[in-house]
Amino acid sequence: MTSQPATLYQKLVDAHTVEHLDADHVLLYADLHIMNEYTSPQAFSSLHDKQRAVLRPAQQLAVVSHIIPTAPLAVGQRVIGDPASSLLALNLRRNCERHGIRLFDTNDIDQGIEHIIAPEQGLVRPGMVILCGDSHTTTYGALGALGFGVGTSEVEHILATQTLVYRVAQSMRIRIDGQLARGTSVKDLTLYLISRLGAQGARGYAVEFCGSAITALSVEARMTLCNMAVEAGARAALIAPDSATRAYLRSHAAPFQHGDFPALWDELHSDPDAVFDLEHVFDASEVAPYVTWGTSPDQGMPVNARIPGPDSQSANTDPHAPAMVRKALAYMGLQAGEPIMGLPVDRVFIGSCTNSRIEDLRAAAAIIGTHKVAPKVRAMVVPGSGAVRRQAEAEGLADIFIAAGFEWRQPGCSMCLAMNDDVLSPLERCASTTNRNFEGRQGRASRTHLMSPAMAAAAAITGVISDVRTLEHAQ
């Protein structure tokens, strides 16, 4: 640790720097490297072609998550029907067996989404550096760990060297004070922040979130926020560990179940005089239930507002912005100036590494209560892991979803990126708790509206995009 005032980000980078390579780059050591079935195969192949070994097999973890079918199983084991997807899973298993790597395979009872499993298994701890060939690795900042996504060439580099050639990011602090209002959650705050920052507002930065609104969040809620920081372009997201972090680790990580926490964790915060390259301040009390209207995660709006147009202020100063707004509206089949509330949806998806933890399912179930899914709406819940699924069943949440007419499915990434068979049909409109509303993300010509689990539940039972605050069951 440095003696100069340092940001939390600087402390984490310094503590993992093997060598300084030049003015901008360090050789960064990874405590844990997580792999999935579709961004690792070519890394292993290249490693094998060059007859190189995996340097630290015990610091690798692999998960079958993206291609796995999630259809409800009455009995028996999951079978991946699609031959190409089946090969991806088989290939990962072979690579893990060959190198002695821990794998959460297709029918592991704790299988699920990589970013859900790692924290819930107690594998994410403050002060760590965790890398993964997946952009939502920023999730781990919720526990004060530096996590970020890498490409497949970098996966190979990490396998062979347990390090990454890393360009050190600039630092940004986002302070959020104030209280989230009734009917709003961290997802609304997240969509609000991204719409204010823009899709590249944090590009080049490691973002630290702080303030009373952040302290008030549960660790699971912090994961939602850090998960989507990448949608503002952030290279990493961090929240300094506090008592909530320690309580989470006590219940998830065996070494800490008796509350003996390392003294070094007390240093995992930005020093009072630390200098950030950029600072923003927001007020959580300004946040309304948010939905996206466009095809970029920063194209969001309060649910009770009107859909912006090419000349609206949200089109900011970018000369391309009006054309981008027109393109997004055309793709989404929306008219500027119309309300978004009342817009009929065909599908509802509750899941993804953003919103498939137990708290998300509780929030959705609380809105559903004894209501039914609206006629003509197909709604599904895909829990983030086997553990989340079991807990939701034990708490009676699964019964609420099933009684309402939701499909209660097996864990996986599912329709967040629609790489398995959970795909929207062209022009289908989906209320989705996921992280990306990109063109074609959930299927060709599909129309995604990002929102919170409670808002998605509200859309499911009303059949239209609704303001969760006006529903009977809203807390």
Partner: protein, 208 residues
């Protein structure tokens, strides 16, 4: 893809403007092309929904489908090109289509690193300079650019030169095609010294 031992000092050829901001990697390489354990065959997936309609027919409104543009070597793109998913398949698909360089105001960070690791040249230019290049190409009979990686210049059809910058490390990666893993393995003794100290100080970081 160039072999690691070949020097890459210049890129010349047809340049196609595709001026869409935030063109994410889901659009550059859609999900259905990711179900593969190899890097091959990704050219057909490149920008699939922009290039093909719902029936798989070429879209006439896509510049890459215009006569001659199947030979595109240089893509001129909008800001935050390659944002979103980390999928390196996006870079492999661009290269297999024949694209050797992208010119954009900014890039998604993971994409930028992926490009360098595959020797796809990601040039960053101010919007005004890009607008000038696009205008010069529109005026020209042959919409070609010549990029010099040693002089760090782009020559437009009218002969004008636009300078660009590239970090010294990035330029070496592109020009020389360094084997990054081999380079880092030279530091293996330092890595081992580091991790002994690291694990002794913070043993809880060994989680498996």
């Amino acid at each position: 893809m160039s072999k690691p031992t070949e020097k890459l000092t210049s890129i010349a050829g047809l340049a196609a403007p595709l001026l869409i901001d935030n063109l994410d990697t889901d659009q550059i390489m859609p999900k259905q092309f990711l179900r593969t354990i190899s890097k091959e065959g990704l050219d057909k997936g490149l920008l699939y929904d922009l290039r093909f309609d719902g029936d798989g027919q070429p879209r006439t409104d896509c510049i890459l489908n215009q006569p001659g543009y199947e030979a595109t070597r240089i893509l001129i793109a909008g800001s935050n090109f390659g944002c979103g998913s980390s999928r390196e398949h996006a870079v492999w698909g661009l290269q297999q289509f024949g694209i050797a360089a992208v010119i954009a105001p900014s890039y998604g960070e993971i994409f930028y690193g992926n490009a360098l690791n595959n020797r796809l040249l990601p040039i960053m230019l101010e919007q005004a300079a890009i607008d000038a290049l696009v205008a010069a190409l529109a005026q020209a009979e042959q919409a070609t650019l010549e990029i010099d990686l040693l002089a760090l210049t782009i020559r437009a059809p009218d002969g004008s030169l636009t300078p660009f910058t590239l970090a010294p490390r990035s330029r070496r990666m592109l020009v020389d095609g360094m084997d990054m893993v081999a380079l880092t393995l030279q530091s293996l003794p330092q890595i081992e010294v580091f991790e002994q100290r690291h694990v002794a100080a913070q043993p809880w970081m060994r989680v498996l």
